[in-house]
Subunit: 143 residues, 2 copies
DNA sequence: CTGCTTTTGATTATCATTTTCAATTTATCG
DNA sequence: CGATAAATTGAAAATGATAATCAAAAGCAG
């Protein structure tokens, strides 16, 4: 599955005439080996651990490429930092965000998605994307 | 109704030992006379029109007070600017955001809210707040 | 290899928001 | 009414995340 994503990115890169570089390989490896919802800073530190010379600018640039290639999705919660998560084809989910421990719980709800479609239709609105974030305290932080 | 909000703020201010100032009066007046979803910059310009000496720092500070007092709510869409909207007691709504013309359409959906409660309960999660934003093109921008 | 183009990374710039801090203003009390 | 202590203000500087610059380095087709 990791190899699939690497292939997907290589294909995307080939199609765009992008060159293959040590930096991008490293950032892709680190991203693919990473858990959900990484901040750019977190990723940058991990990348430096294996390729010390890589600059943050390159990490920022490369993450945007991953989004373009369909490997990653931007997640903007309310801590002022852009995070990136893995995208698997045809899947969508939303987030419960714990303000106590910063944990993120993912959920899917088909009914909510359908209701959104109805609302949009009622207003003649064409949906491109949406975000639903529920903030509060997770089970652990409630005690 | 405008007077109600002024009274509400004065009550809040009294309870917190805040002093009454020309600046805050002016900012409150301007905010109350303003349409939904104003950015700080927009508000700042309007404030300067009637009280030329007021600084932005004061506008930023005062808006946070309004939120604390329950008069206003922060709305963070994805244009990098914090906006503020009026809050009326016991009311909640979410947003359709047009990426073409920046129009914002408000909607309420009790079913979605209930489904959110169910999801939270299922995860032992205690909801404090949530945001649902649907991005896309409004009827006008689709043509 | 050569020459051309992309990529990189250090540095600088942006831009919204926050902090600082000295000067001003407000509320309180004698 | 002053005097005093505390809160408020506004100009300017600081912050912090991200974007833009640009000269040097690297990748690639011929
Ligand atoms: Mn997620
Ligand atoms: Mn609104
Ligand atoms: Zn938690
Ligand atoms: Zn529109």
């Amino acid at each position: 599955m990791i190899q699939d994503k690497k292939n997907a990115f290589n294909k995307f890169a080939a199609g765009k005439g992008l060159r293959s570089t040590r930096q991008r390989d490293c950032i892709l490896n680190v991203f693919l080996s990473t858990h959900q919802h990484v901040s750019v800073e977190e990723l940058y530190l991990k990348v430096k651990a294996c390729c010390p010379g890589v600059g943050q600018a390159t990490v920022y640039r490369t993450l945007k490429l991953f989004v373009e290639a369909g490997l990653a999705r931007e997640v903007l919660l309310h801590d002022g930092q852009t995070r990136y998560e893995h995208v698997q084809a045809g899947e969508h989910h939303d987030h419960l965000v714990c303000t106590g421990c910063n944990a993120i719980i993912e959920f899917e709800n088909e009914t909510i998605e359908k209701l959104q479609d109805q609302i949009a239709e009622r207003h003649g609105f064409m949906i491109r994307s949406h975000k639903l974030e529920i903030y509060g305290l997770c089970a652990d932080c409630r005690s």
